[in-house]
């Protein structure tokens, strides 16, 4: 579903993403981890067509990331910020963005989404009046209103309370059931453990570990400790269990 090969992005003398290569299968939730400045956001922007790679290639659902118009139809992106109109209701937001994608039978799709994301009761409330968790759910709903093949979630649980976060996990799991591939960028290792099938750990734009949540536990008693140890013994060599 996602094939990344030697993807590089430099800003003048600074290399934000340095020859990254990895692949993601359909229906997977693929975690992207790393400390601040590791290159997560730059990678996400390149994969969603917002940033031109300096070199390397990447195909998303068979579409080369430089073919932006086609790329827009196969991807969904839920940035960490709330990207919707606060003065429109949930339904109006979905209607509007659905219409931009040319979604057929938009009313049905909206109903599916509000049901799936637990927004039925608030569907006619203005978006600005929603709670933080609901806003995140709406953000995700908007990202998948056009039924993309791959969904990019950029720290979707950032800044929301634990209950909302767990509710959001359920939503993500439900999306996965729809065979939508999810690229999940986060700082929360628990989420990776709970949600992701596989992951890569980035540091200074390079992959320092590609593994499953279970396989990295051998680097520490907890996943957090393992993560810390991996970064401490920084190496870009992929361990056999990563593949």
């Amino acid at each position: 579903m996602l094939e990344v090969k030697d993807l590089t992005r430099t800003f003048k003398k600074f290399t934000a993403v340095d020859h990254l290569s990895f692949s993601v299968q359909q229906g997977e939730i693929f975690g992207i981890l790393g400390p601040n400045g590791a290159g997560k956001s730059t990678l996400m922007k390149m994969l969603t067509g917002f940033l031109e790679p300096t070199s390397g290639t990447a195909t998303v659902a068979g579409v080369e990331i430089r073919d932006k118009e086609k790329l827009k139809r196969v991807i969904g992106w839920a940035p960490q910020e709330d990207c919707f109109y606060g003065k429109l209701s949930i339904v109006e937001n979905l209607q509007y963005f659905g219409s931009l994608y040319g979604v057929e039978d938009i009313e049905k799709r909206i109903w599916e989404l509000v049901q799936a994301l637990g927004l039925v009761d608030k569907r006619n409330a203005l978006a600005e009046s929603l709670s933080g968790g609901m806003k995140r759910r709406l953000n995700i709903a908007l990202a998948i209103v056009h039924s993309p093949k791959i969904l990019f979630l950029d720290e979707p649980t950032l800044g929301i309370d634990p209950i909302s976060r767990m509710a959001l996990w359920d939503v993500i799991k439900d999306i996965k059931k729809q065979k939508i591939t999810i690229i999940y960028s986060t700082h929360y290792l628990t989420e990776v453990e709970q949600l992701c099938d596989r992951m890569i750990i980035l540091r200074r734009g390079r992959v320092v570990k590609e593994a499953t949540p279970q396989s990295i536990k051998k680097y520490g008693k907890t996943i957090e400790e393992a993560f810390f140890n991996i970064l401490k013994n920084e190496t870009d060599e992929r361990t056999p269990d990563a593949v």
């Binding site: 917002f50 109109y85 003065k87």
Partner: protein, 567 residues
């Protein structure tokens, strides 16, 4: 499909707008309120009235009762010795200006030395300062005119009297001229008469007389001879008679008879006659006559010769005299002509109204826009400024909000081109601007402004709305926050306002500023509207330029959003 997307975008923006009270206020209430306030302000604004309302200090150091009657100034008497006070009051802003009448002001004027008023102006009050200065200058000009007219009127009176005297002199000269002509005629007659005097004839006559005299002389000689003969005969006769008579007497007249007395008397007579005859010398007289032939007759001949010479001299003198008289007459003629010319010139001069000599040129002002209020003149500027400020604030904020909220990013993620997305924003903003323009025009019409809603005006308004909205859009694409958008809008709009010619004409600006000012969007908009509303013309080229600039700004906006769709 694309049209549906466009409509969705417009509906979405409309909903967002209507649900945002602040924006509704900005879009609807603000233009109404600003236009209303400015319309109220401008409809009663008058520089003339303002000048009449400001306090002007009056400092009369001359104390000769000089006044500026008819001045439309609100004068405040500053009392005596007020020179320093007046200046101080102007500097402090207590009065907008002060007029100082110096000592000896009236006297100097009356003596013809001239004088000057002093005018202190508070130049911080630009509009009123100019108005007061103009008013005072007008007063001084009027005063100068009055003094000039009085002086010239007096001069004219004297010149007219002089002219009358000249008329009399002309009459007298004409009389002298006539006299001269008479003298000339008489002289000419004299000359002619002299010329007619024939001395040659006289000479010939005299010669003839001479010849006759010679003949007489000859005859006289004969006569003399005969007379001598007769004389001799008579003498002898007498000599014979006397003794006879004496004897007779002696003989006959012893007794003294009467006849004897007569005889005696006769003897005496004969003796006397004899004596006379003896004494008489006829030849001597004839010789005298002969002598006359050489003297008496030569003298007239000589005299005639002298007379001819004298006649020639007199004739020459008369000719000279005639020439002199002619020259004299000609001179009198020339003097008369000169005097008549001077007379006419004086008449011509004195016929001129002193008022028009002092003020030969007056200004007959014809206002291009007669009987129009200040509001009408300011209407194009009013429309442009309100549209500019509100347009910039709304459009820049709208885009900044979209970018900050991430909705621009989400829109950019959708399969809609950024160019189309921005285009629909422009359409929405354009519709908003048109609504604002309509509100402004309606308010102005309520204030009695007759705005011709013709194709040109509507096109100009549309171009202006588009231009300002796209300019705001462009600002929104550059800045990062609403505050920055507001500040940037102000930073752009305020200089544009001052450089657009609304407050100061381009001619007053430094050349570089005037050049920049002429190229600014507000100036373009203002000139296009003024052309249509104030000058009843059309500036389609200006409208095309505005559309061109709008397209350019639109392209820049698309590029900026494409480069960075989210903050």
């Amino acid at each position: 499909m694309k049209r549906m997307k466009g409509l969705q975008m417009l509906f979405k923006d409309a909903k967002l707008l209507l649900r945002d009270t602040k924006t509704v206020v900005l879009v609807v209430v603000t233009p109404l309120l600003i236009t209303l306030i400015l319309a109220l302000l401008f409809s009663n604004l008058s520089t003339e009235a303002a000048v009449g309302n400001v306090k002007v200090g009056w400092c009369d150091l001359d104390q000769q009762g000089f006044s500026v009657e008819g001045a439309k100034l609100k004068l405040m008497d500053l009392g005596k010795n007020c020179n320093a006070t007046a200046e101080q009051m102007v500097k402090e802003g207590s009065v907008a200006a002060a007029i100082i009448i110096p000592k000896g002001f009236q006297q100097q004027i009356s003596e013809g030395h001239g004088s000057s008023l002093q005018l202190y102006l508070d130049t911080t009050q630009v509009q009123t300062a100019h108005g007061i200065s103009t008013e005072v200058r007008a007063l001084v000009e009027e005063m100068n005119q009055r003094i000039g007219v009085t002086f010239i009127s007096e001069a004219w009176k004297k010149l007219k009297a002089l002219n009358d005297q000249l008329a009399k002199v002309t009459d007298e000269l004409e009389q002298a001229h006539q006299t001269t002509l008479t003298v000339r005629n008489q002289t000419q007659q004299l000359k002619d008469y002299l010329a007619s005097v024939n001395l040659t004839q006289a000479e010939e006559d005299l010669a003839t007389a001479n010849r006759t005299l010679h003949e007489i002389q000859a005859n006289l000689s004969i006569v003399q001879q005969k007379i001598q003969n007769y004389q001799l005969m008579v003498s002898s006769l007498l000599q014979s008679a006397v003794p006879l008579l004496n004897m007779s007497y002696n003989q006959s007249c012893q007794n003294q008879s009467i006849g004897c007395a007569a005889l005696l008397e006769g003897i005496t007579v004969i003796e006397n006659a004899s004596a006379t005859l003896n004494n008489a010398s006829l030849s001597t007289e004839v010789q005298t006559i002969a002598a006359l032939n050489t003297t008496a007759l030569l003298l007239p001949l000589n005299a005639i010769g002298d007379l001819s010479t004298a006649k020639a001299e007199v004739q020459e003198n008369l000719t000279t005299l005639l020439a002199t008289i002619d020259a004299y007459a000609a001179n009198i003629d020339a003097i008369i002509v000169e005097i008549q010319g001077t007379h006419q010139l004086l008449e011509q001069y004195t016929a001129r109204d002193p008022q028009y000599i002092v003020r030969a040129v007056s200004v007959d002002e014809k206002e291009s826009l007669e009987q129009v209020s200040y509001l009408w003149i300011m209407t194009p500027a009013l429309i442009c400024v309100v549209l500019l400020f509100i347009g910039l604030f709304i459009s820049s904020n709208l885009i900044v909000q979209e970018r900050r909220a991430g909705t621009m990013l989400r829109n950019a993620l959708a399969p809609v081109s950024l160019a189309y997305l921005i285009f629909m924003k422009v359409v929405f903003l354009f519709v908003l601007a048109i609504i604002q323009a309509t509100l402004i025009v309606v308010v102005l019409m309520l204030f009695g402004m007759t705005i011709a809603l013709n194709i040109y005006f509507l096109s100009a308004i549309a171009a202006i709305c588009l231009l300002f909205m796209v300019l705001g859009l462009c600002i929104g694409c550059v800045v990062k926050s609403e505050n920055s958008a507001l500040l940037t809008s102000l930073v752009l709009a305020l200089p544009m306002m001052f450089l657009s010619g609304i407050f100061y004409p381009f001619e007053m600006m430094p050349a570089s500023f005037a050049w920049i000012g002429g190229k600014l969007p507000l100036t373009m908009a203002l000139q296009a509207l003024q052309k249509g509303m104030l000058y009843h013309g059309e500036d389609w080229q200006g409208i095309i330029v505005m559309l061109g600039v709008s397209v350019m700004l639109y392209i820049i906006s698309v590029y900026l959003v494409w480069r960075k769709p989210v903050e």
